[in-house]
Symmetry: C2
Subunit: 326 residues, 2 copies
């Protein structure tokens, strides 16, 4: 069976790390058909549109999408692309790698971030010269779907349940609905949960990240808290993510376009290659996925390394080393 993979490099180092991840996927004996498409600042410059309709349609029909990064147009690209794959959950592992400088090397978290609503579904209005509003949306159905996913997620691996992180002491109706819905789905599945206010989570995860494992949270909370966790493990540079929908999914590194080093061939491809490993797992290639994860870890630990990690290797060197270790 051929899997159609949409490849959307985007801008900046996205154009360097996405081909690197494709090279890794091509090195495996899997029948992939890669179809490339444009998105981001560069294509907007040319055509006026950050996300051309063909690109949207491609992501909406491919079996999986690999996305790099977009510049100023990031929100105009990634938010519709999440919709294109009907993604209801953003899976964001934040793990410190051995040998990599981290504020909290013991961090090993996975965020399951609601990916369709909250302030992201926000309808905004400028009511008067003085007053603007945004209507934040939380639904029982989206919370349920996320919770079902979370229960399956913690069931598969050796997790003890998950933490529900929210701000229901202030957003009583909306985050209250989120918290109660997720809790009751977990109860039905016999999955243990605990509840943490998002501000308290921010403090506690710095003090002792090991007290958390899988974190289930609303959209904006997941955005901020997973980036906080990224800070604890040493930056966005190594973090992958998966936007999972019922029939397809989109995989992207958490980092941006890194304009300071773009075009030099020295971008660290690890986050995108690990995102490709998540893609492999999503398509059922668990062994190949594990092999890529291991090859990346071995390369992070033993080199070669790109300059962001203190080395002087190129993107191509690191990619070749990872492929060698497969």
């Amino acid at each position: 069976m051929t899997h159609e993979i949409a490849v959307i490099p985007g801008d900046g180092i996205g154009r360097e790390v996405t081909p690197a991840a494709v090279d890794v996927l091509e090195a495996l004996e899997i029948d992939f058909e890669f179809v490339e498409a444009d998105a981001g600042d560069a294509v907007r410059e040319e055509t006026g549109e950050a996300l051309p309709q063909e690109t949207y349609d491609l992501a909406a029909s491919a079996d999986a999408t690999l996305f790099g990064a977009a510049g100023d147009t990031a929100a105009d690209v990634i938010l519709p692309l999440r919709t294109a794959v009907d993604s209801f959950v953003n899976v964001r592992p934040a793990k410190a790698y051995p040998g990599i400088d981290a504020v909290r090397p013991e961090t090993d978290l996975v965020f399951l971030r609601e990916n369709t609503e909250g302030v992201y579904a926000g309808h905004e209005d400028r009511l008067t010269q003085d007053v603007s509003t945004l209507t934040r949306v939380v639904t029982e159905s989206a919370s349920e779907r996320l919770a079902e996913f979370a229960c399956e997620y913690v069931d598969g691996d050796d997790h003890d349940g998950f933490s529900i992180v929210h701000k229901a002491n202030v957003m009583r109706e909306t985050d209250g609905l989120f918290r109660d819905t997720v809790t009751s789905v977990a109860d039905e599945h016999g999955v243990e949960t605990d509840q943490v206010l998002m501000d308290a989570f921010a403090t506690r995860v710095c003090l002792d990240p090991e007290q958390f494992d899988v974190v289930v949270c609303p959209n904006l909370a997941g955005d901020v808290l997973s980036d906080l966790a990224a800070g604890l493990v040493g930056g966005l540079g190594l973090l992958p993510s998966a936007n999972v929908g019922p029939d397809r999914a989109l995989f992207e590194p958490v980092h941006g376009t890194a304009p300071d080093i773009a075009g030099q061939g020295i971008a660290n491809p690890a986050a995108t290659i690990v995102s490709a490993a998540m893609l492999l797992e999503y398509l059922g290639y668990d062994e190949e996925s594990a092999a890529v994860h291991e090859a990346v870890e071995a390369t992070l630990e033993n080199g070669p390394r790109t300059p962001d990690l203190g080395g002087d290797a190129s993107t191509a060197d690191v990619t070749a080393a990872i492929i060698d270790r497969l």
Copy 2:
């Protein structure tokens, strides 16, 4: 001139640390009249109301209020009390103290958090069985008032300007209004600003807190990011805060009721005593305020210390040591 100070100990260790701070204030030669009032879980148990009208009225008329902590009723107590003093800004310093274990000892930040609106002014609705909404409010006037305060704040001390932290790439109208209003007030005052997305801030402040100094942000962003900074400096235990309004203000430690140690006389009074130092500064007693700050710092560094900092001193011992050092 007599200053009327409302004293609201609340619950848990609030009942221990608030009197300690009053002792420190009483040790100064200032004409204070302290008036105590109830709020929190205990008074709700008794009367059905977490915030009795008398307490609200007292805070709304006193020159300043010192608040301890409240338990489950925290939101029902602190949010109306912020309204009672018409507080438009929550000032939250997050500084690591010498000799105290911190994830990031070089952290020295002050958050100026919008204190009246955002999701906290949220009107919530359960539209259908499935759908709940919260209307987030951002006004030009509140953003302006905050920005004016911020400009004065950075002018007084040796700050180079401030960072505006927001999520205007997603909340374009509301956080866009916030960002643009604060920026243009700063421009008028010739105050330098830079802009940081709140998720990027979360990563960057972990990696290198010294790149930030004064942070101006919307209400919920300030809640979460100041608690993140608290994690970087070693926990909530030492952090003070001021809810400042045009005519009065309320001062409170950032920590909660610490039910695990409440009633044992071993709570660390530092955060509340530093909050009292902020109260002194607010009322114009700059020298006395500086003296209290220094006495607390000296005590944190040289002891005696409460058990949370590895010592075995009581709240009373630490308070006495601070008063001795005034």
